[in-house]
Amino acid sequence: MKSKSFVSINDLSREKILSLLEVAEKFEANPNRDVLAGKIVGSLFFEPSTRTRLSFETAANRLGASVIGFSDAATSSATKGETLKDTIMMVSSYADVIAMRHKLEGAARYASEVSPVPIINAGDGANQHPSQTMLDLYSIKKTQGTLEGLNIHLVGDLKYGRTVHSLLHAMRHFNPTFHFIAPSELRMPEEYRLFCKENNIPFTETTEFNEEVIANADIIYMTRVQRERFSDIMEYEKVKNCYRLTNEMLANTKDNLRILHPLPRVNEIAQDVDDNPKAYYFQQAQNGLYVREAIICDVLGIEI
């Protein structure tokens, strides 16, 4: 019953990451390829995520597949108490591949064990969102020409931010230097600092976010500092505007610097940054389409 699934970025070797990025490049050159004609992609969003769902469904459509599924657990039989296993078994009898988002951590891994068709993890709670990580890597490689030896500044919520944790894991193959910039309440957890040490990844850590700190950055990866993450609301009020990137701050940054953000953005990137050529977050989201096309083809064993 084992099929080839895409569950966690930690499963991917350096070679695998690079080969997926190469295929994604081909899709960027030509996103419309009819390689999945006659196939059905199951799109199971037990938890709503419009952005990710539209990206996966667009990828499926551009590959010539049809899409079935649901966009919210409220419209699935999960609300009637059906187990995840039963839902997966049912859908896998219709679909050739399943992309799923679930609020519980490990849901995609479990689904991949019970499903006869490949599972693509489109996010499992606070655990993994590996297609997001792949599009982050794609964006970094595309804008910098390489993944090797870059200065990557992670800013904002580094405690709960799933995207920054996965990015850190994935970048271990490519000799990065990390700079963690976060309020002390949302600092990078010990587990990941330890991970850096074990993998000989140099990093710095600061609570200050200013021009000086970002002067040598190749990539600034912004995340949202959310009010609900703070146990002390006063603490939130104190820091909420400290991790805001403005156009002014970019004046003396490196030419190759690009700013990434997993979106949605609220106010952590000022609107005036949008027109700066160093802003890359909208193209970053668009790159998601190409990497998702590459991932769908990969799990189905289709060569491009």
């Binding site: 609020k103 519980l104 951590e105 490990g106 849901a107 891994r109 479990y110 709670g125 655990n127 587990e191």
Partner: protein, 154 residues
């Protein structure tokens, strides 16, 4: 006379079977339950709070005519990592084994993460030892790490 010698006198020597020794006193009943001893029909002797140079107080279990596979016995390491297992045949210790934490632990411990799928679906748990020296395990599903001292048995 030491408590150990007294126990040896009070309990008939084992002809064939297994002696599980050096169990920390406060883990004895966890080990008893883990090996499903209450369900066993074999002749079982359980001793606890015996003096031990190594542990201060220790527990000990003798089970007649029952032998354990490595898999069975390695489960014990989850609650008591340094237990010693003696296999007795014809009144002699023919083998002494120290239990070793297995690389993977199937359906024995609960994931501490309430948002983990294993706590919400009728399914077995599965942990992988992530760092033997630091005694950390990683849930195969939610990928959260946990220290062996913080886990609860299912």
């Amino acid at each position: 006379m030491s408590n150990e010698k007294k126990l040896a006198m009070q309990v008939s020597a084992l002809c064939n079977g297994t002696v599980i020794d050096h169990i920390p006193a406060d883990k004895l009943f966890a080990v008893v339950n883990l090996l499903n001893i209450p369900e066993m029909k074999h002749n079982v002797t359980i001793g606890n709070n015996l003096d031990s140079k190594k542990l201060g107080k220790k527990g000990l279990i003798k089970i007649a005519d029952r032998f354990f596979t490595d898999d069975e016995i390695n489960k014990i390491s989850i609650v008591a990592p340094n237990v010693v297992l003696n296999t007795i045949r014809d009144y002699k210790v023919v083998e002494k084994r120290e239990v070793k934490m297995p690389n993977e632990i199937h359906n024995l411990i609960k994931c501490n993460n309430l948002n983990c799928i294993t706590n919400n679906e009728p399914m077995p748990t599965h942990f992988v030892v992530s760092n033997r020296d630091a005694h950390t395990l990683k849930c195969r599903y939610c990928e959260k790490e946990v220290n062996i001292n913080d886990v609860k048995l299912l």
